[in-house]
């Protein structure tokens, strides 16, 4: 995992996205224990307070939870993970379609193009 950050946005926001991705992709599986803040911060070379802020936000969203004595865990709710995954996918699709519409593509052309592209990827 490459922990690089864009220069123009707050780091905690980028950390939230990064950790979300790690959860959605299964790198941090549902119900698994997350590394300690210290270890994660040191791996990512970021400030532990900043990482703490990102984790608190993920906690507020329900993707992770804290067990008082034993640390922080990924939610066991796999449906929730799926749901978040879907939301992120939709976000990305909207970005792409918006651009393609700006470029003058019709819905049918877009679909055909995406379909043929996916077939080629195999």
């Amino acid at each position: 995992m490459n922990w690089s950050f864009q220069p123009d946005r707050p780091i905690y926001v980028q950390l939230i996205e990064r950790i979300k991705l790690l959860i959605l992709s299964g790198a941090y599986p549902a119900g698994s224990r997350l590394p300690s803040v210290r270890d994660m911060a040191s791996e990512a070379s970021v400030n532990p307070n900043t990482l703490q802020k990102a984790l608190s936000e993920l906690e507020r969203e329900g993707l992770v939870y804290t067990q008082r004595t034993s640390g922080r865990f990924v939610t066991e709710d796999e449906n929730m993970i799926k749901q978040v995954k879907k939301e992120l996918a939709i976000e990305q699709i909207e970005l792409v379609t918006k651009k393609l519409i700006e470029m003058g593509f019709s819905k049918e052309e877009m679909l055909a193009l995406i379909e043929s592209r996916i077939k080629e990827m195999k």
Binding site: F5, P7, D8, R9, P10, I11, Y12, R38, D39, A41, S42, E43, S45, V46, N47, P48, N49, T50
Partner: protein, 232 residues
């Protein structure tokens, strides 16, 4: 929250030259603070004042409720810009020195850090490369359980890979209630580990902010902002 370091109206002049003037700063516990400014902006002067190596011309510094002196030295871990260790000494000699000197020096942790770097305890300093020497010095400083770490240019003379090692060592080893002050002009390497930044220009504080506020409010990195403020 109580500040670990507080200075008010701090001023230092060397002859006719004002190195620092009208500096008011307060650093809270548990923060990593970047002291940023070009060469000659007063960064090292500030850190030396905090260590009691030089005395203020005007104004005050209070560290954990006390003026810099013997008591504050016990809780402040200082990495000077230049090495002060004797070249003929072995790493183990220096470890023992620190162990004798500082009640909060954790020699077991220092050994652990040393071995993770593959440096032998029996090696003499003069046989080590410049970068390795700097790492040994950082180990000495970070193996103390201090309340305040004052690191003057910890990443100045080393290659990018060593910088990463140094930064992650700082993150891994400072204790959560301690405050770390890092002076540097290499901002892009360091801004992701900072909570707060102080910009020093010609001995005066021209900006005091959190990194997130700069990125969120101005939509640019601290590095980019620095280049703007200090444009030649």
């Amino acid at each position: 929250m109580m500040a670990i370091l507080q200075c008010s109206n701090l001023e230092k002049t060397f002859g006719y030259k004002k190195a620092l003037s009208g500096v008011n700063l307060s650093f809270e516990k548990g923060r990593i603070v970047g002291l940023l400014g070009p060469n000659g902006s007063g960064k090292s002067t500030f850190i030396k004042l905090c260590n009691g190596l030089i005395t203020p011309t005007n104004g005050t510094i209070i560290i954990d409720g006390k003026a810099p002196g013997i008591e504050t030295k016990a809780i402040v871990s200082y990495l000077p810009e230049q090495t002060y260790l004797n070249d003929w000494m072995k790493v183990s000699d220096i470890f023992n020195f620190f162990d004798d000197f500082y009640a909060d020096f954790d020699i077991a942790r220092a050994r652990e850090m040393l071995s993770s770097l593959g440096i032998g305890e029996k090696e003499r300093l003069k046989t080590l490369s410049k970068g390795t020497k700097e790492k040994v010095q950082l180990i000495l400083v970070m193996a103390r359980q201090a309340k305040l770490y004052l690191l003057d240019e910890p990443i100045g003379g080393v290659d990018p890979a060593a910088r990463d090692y140094i930064l992650s060592t700082i993150i891994k080893n400072y204790n959560q209630d301690a405050t770390v002050v890092i002076s540097t002009h290499l901002i892009s390497d360091i801004e992701r580990v900072l909570d707060d930044v102080v910009f020093l220009k010609n001995g005066e504080v021209v900006l005091l902010s959190t990194v997130d506020d700069i990125r969120e409010g101005k939509g640019k990195s601290v590095d980019a902002l620095f280049r703007e403020v200090f444009k030649c």
